[in-house]
């Protein structure tokens, strides 16, 4: 039996200890996900929402179930983009009937100039299976961030050009990154990267 005078002190001490415990627990719970995040691998790809060249809404789910090639560029690009899309066209041709078992997507990094109509016209010059995609500036920024695509507008007098990642992303059926195809990579090597996923 405690003396009456000491009871409030014990109660106070218990309350303080309890509070410290509670603070520690909430701190631990708050920090836990952050600490775990450091061990997560870098994820490339993920959810996005864009408009295709036919004006339909497309998301990452549109392309799940088949391996998918993504190329990011813009139509006012005289050299790198037509070359890469011509190479994509060549890959689809070389794949023969297997080309129908993959998706190929051209994502515009120039939402300001690349309307869905312009992209539709532009893509007439390449394999008809290539899907064009554009969106609002925010939607483009979002997919670029998720694919770790670098792009930057560069003023060239009254016109502008865009510095951009010129790599073709090869994603697997589940939407995960499976391989990268470099600009002007040897066609045989690019084909092997795609065929591995079929």
């Amino acid at each position: 039996m405690l003396p009456r005078t000491r009871a409030p002190v014990v109660a106070l001490a218990a309350a303080v200890l309890g509070l410290i415990g509670l603070l520690g627990l909430s701190l631990w719970l708050g920090l836990k996900p952050l600490l775990q995040d450091q061990h997560l691998p870098v994820i490339i790809g993920g959810p996005f929402s864009l408009t295709n060249h036919r004006g339909e809404r497309i998301t990452e789910k549109t392309f799940l179930g088949k391996p998918t090639l993504y190329f990011f560029g813009f139509t006012h690009c005289p050299e790198v983009c037509p070359t890469s899309l011509m190479e994509m066209t060549g890959l689809l041709k070389e794949l023969g009937p297997d080309a129908n078992r993959i998706n190929a997507v051209f994502v515009s990094l120039d939402p300001e100039r690349d309307t869905k109509t312009l992209i539709a016209t532009y893509l007439e010059s390449f394999d008809s299976r290539i899907v064009g995609a554009t969106g609002s500036a925010e939607e483009i920024a979002d997919i670029a961030r998720k694919f770790r695509v670098y792009y930057r507008k560069v003023e060239e007098g009254e016109n502008y050009t865009i510095d951009h990642t010129a790599t073709i992303y090869v994603m697997d059926r589940e939407g995960g990154l499976a391989a990268l195809i470099d600009y002007k990579e040897d066609q045989a090597s690019a084909l092997r990267k795609i065929k591995r996923l079929l």
Partner: protein
Amino acid sequence: MFAKTFWTAFIVALIHLPGGAYAHDYRVGDLIVYHPWVVQPPNGTSVASGLLTIENTGKISDRLVSVAIEVAGKVEIHSTVVSEGVAAMRTLKEGVEIPAGASVELHGSRHLMLMELKRPLLLDETLQGTLTFEKAGTLQVEFLVESLSMKNSHPGHRLKKTP
């Protein structure tokens, strides 16, 4: 000397390979311009790239300073560098040097950029162009419009292709 003659003959022979596109060259002073052509751009775009090779057979360096082509509101000399996966294109405001005794390809990383195209370009049509050199002066040439796939059959093309 022999080596140079050989390579010149080799390049000329390549250009004249049977089955290849119509080849043409132009001379002004000590400069020879081989096969100026424009890659037919994809539909709907108002830009295109122009390609050519310039050989300087003289002893003094020269410089291509400007280009005009009839259907383009503006033509610039560009350099595209793809480094660590990122493509960056810049205007070469000083033009391109054609060193004495050298052959310079504007075919790929360096190219002409035709802007503000006034109409779509048709395959096999020829476009009137003017090249201006710092020392040799101006030269009228015809740019032939060819398809992008022709890049594989011209010298200077760096695309590797499986047989």
